[in-house]
Symmetry: C2
Subunit: 144 residues, 2 copies
DNA sequence: TGATAATGTAACATTTAAAATTACATTAAA
DNA sequence: TTTAATGTAATTTTAAATGTTACATTATCA
């Protein structure tokens, strides 16, 4: 398996949509910002839409927008919306090995608890906070 | 980047070494159990050795053994020993995008805090505990 | 209402990092 | 001194993420 950068890309997308608040952003515009293909964006935004974080409008002048207030939209929500099956990858089971066969059962609860333990940290950071932090960085850069 | 199953494999290895406690296990024996190549095992065990979790003996009749008591050896230690650079992958930076350029700075502390939040959960599970749980499963299977 | 410009998604191609393999130097037992 | 193990570099293979093409659907607007 390969690790995707979906979570970080999704944060980027939400930040972008918040910065451009009020105007719909097309997958082409987002793709330029993230430096990827519009289809990749539409696939990723599809998951954010399914989770109710982003809204989409089809047709000319269509595009995407945040469907939650940036104060309420936090990183845990984004994580859940785009997370892959498992945080920790399991190797393929070796049917000839007792340990391998039972490994999933042995680690499942702990892995799940470990993942859930990130909830508090990620919940504590909103898109609004990141936007403000970004503004701060921009101001700093301007005053150099 | 691709997500490796190193963490789960490393747990498997430590469990195996504990189950076979007292006798050195060769990379070939471990490779058969994990269903992979001996070189893959030696590379992975190399990290566990660097972290002081496993000892190795070269030469004929050589092999690997746990160098900590299974009660003390916990999953957080194993995680730290074999962890990749980052838990959450970042896409390549787009120099033409303000958000992309600052994203690393924006998320770094939060990502680090999220990873650290798993410490308590993973620290709470030892190889000894997993071995006992495995014994329990084995007994259940035998009494079916 | 027809042309257009957007999303939604399936199917396929490409890329890239993990995993596997090969090779060989080093080590220590018998 | 032969042999069987580790240690590790270099290379090949593989598979999953990423990128692309294609096209149906949707909705705007002239």
């Amino acid at each position: 398996m390969r690790a995707s950068s979906n979570f970080t890309k999704a944060i980027h997308i939400c930040l972008f949509l918040n910065v451009k608040e009020g105007e719909l952003q097309s997958s082409a515009q987002l793709a330029e910002s993230v430096d990827t293909n519009p289809v990749v964006i539409r696939r990723l935004v599809g998951r954010l839409r399914n989770a109710g974080l982003v809204g989409s409008v089809a047709g000319p002048q269509g595009g995407f927008h945040l469907s939650q207030s940036p104060e309420d939209l936090n990183l845990w929500e984004i994580y859940l919306a785009v997370r892959e099956d498992e945080l920790f990858v399991r190797p393929k089971v070796n049917p000839d090995c007792d340990i391998s066969c039972n490994l999933e059962l042995l680690v499942h609860d702990t892995f799940q608890a470990a993942e859930m333990s990130m909830k508090t940290e990620l919940e504590g950071v909103s898109i609004q906070q990141l936007s403000e932090k970004l503004d701060g960085i921009r101001t700093q850069m301007a005053n150099l």
